[in-house]
Symmetry: C2
Subunit: 129 residues, 2 copies
């Protein structure tokens, strides 16, 4: 059982940089647009998959059904990830932001066993407000 080594490639570095600079969660098309032909569409998807596996990034599904990826900031890499934070989708600018600090409280009815939660809030962000 040999572990797959983590390889650093041009595309990967570039995509991580885009995500870091943006600060918001980005979809493949959004990344593609910002990286003007650095690599193929498929490569973007594969790099994002790898970054996800390596725990550098987390994934969220927007209200538009679009998959977006964002750099993990508030994640504890040693003790499992904290991906149950809130994502905010701005109606005006369309940006999806991670609200790391916000942790919603909720009580599930008896019988339901929670495993993962995804909170998607839409509204107007501070910049557009």
């Amino acid at each position: 059982m040999k572990e797959k080594q983590v390889r650093s490639t041009a595309a990967k570095q570039h995509i991580r940089e885009i995500l870091e600079q943006s600060g918001t969660a980005l979809s493949q098309p959004e990344i593609q647009e910002q990286s003007e032909g650095v690599c193929d569409r498929v490569t973007v998807y594969r790099v994002l998959d790898r970054l996800l596996q390596e725990g550098e990034v987390h994934k969220t599904i927007g209200l538009d059904g679009m998959t977006r990826y964002a750099i993990c900031k508030a994640c504890d890499h040693d003790h499992g990830h904290q991906h149950d934070h809130v994502h905010f989708s701005c109606e005006v600018c369309g940006e999806v932001t991670c609200l790391d600090k916000v942790i919603p409280e909720l009580k599930l009815p008896r019988g339901y066993r929670l495993k993962e939660a995804s909170y998607m809030i839409s509204g107007v962000c501070p910049t557009c407000n």
Copy 2:
């Protein structure tokens, strides 16, 4: 300005019945599967759109990015809809259920103006537990 009248068709009745009997949120493919060729794929989408417009149904995006529709139960049709309830997606059976009663509390950071919320929880439902 004449209003578009609400028309009752075979496809519409059939699809509403499927949703009522299921009790869970269903996607177009799931509805299609249960209705064995009652109508075209496109018609299902259009009927669901109409039911949504008429406020009989609400829409939710799953963690799989799939759009699902469910009959509105806890909605107050006179004073606007309450669609901000929690949806629970079971890892085992794949069913998406509306938890009408569960209302999560959360405090947004200053500057953010909430308009709509979508809470998607995944885990194991009572039946599969």
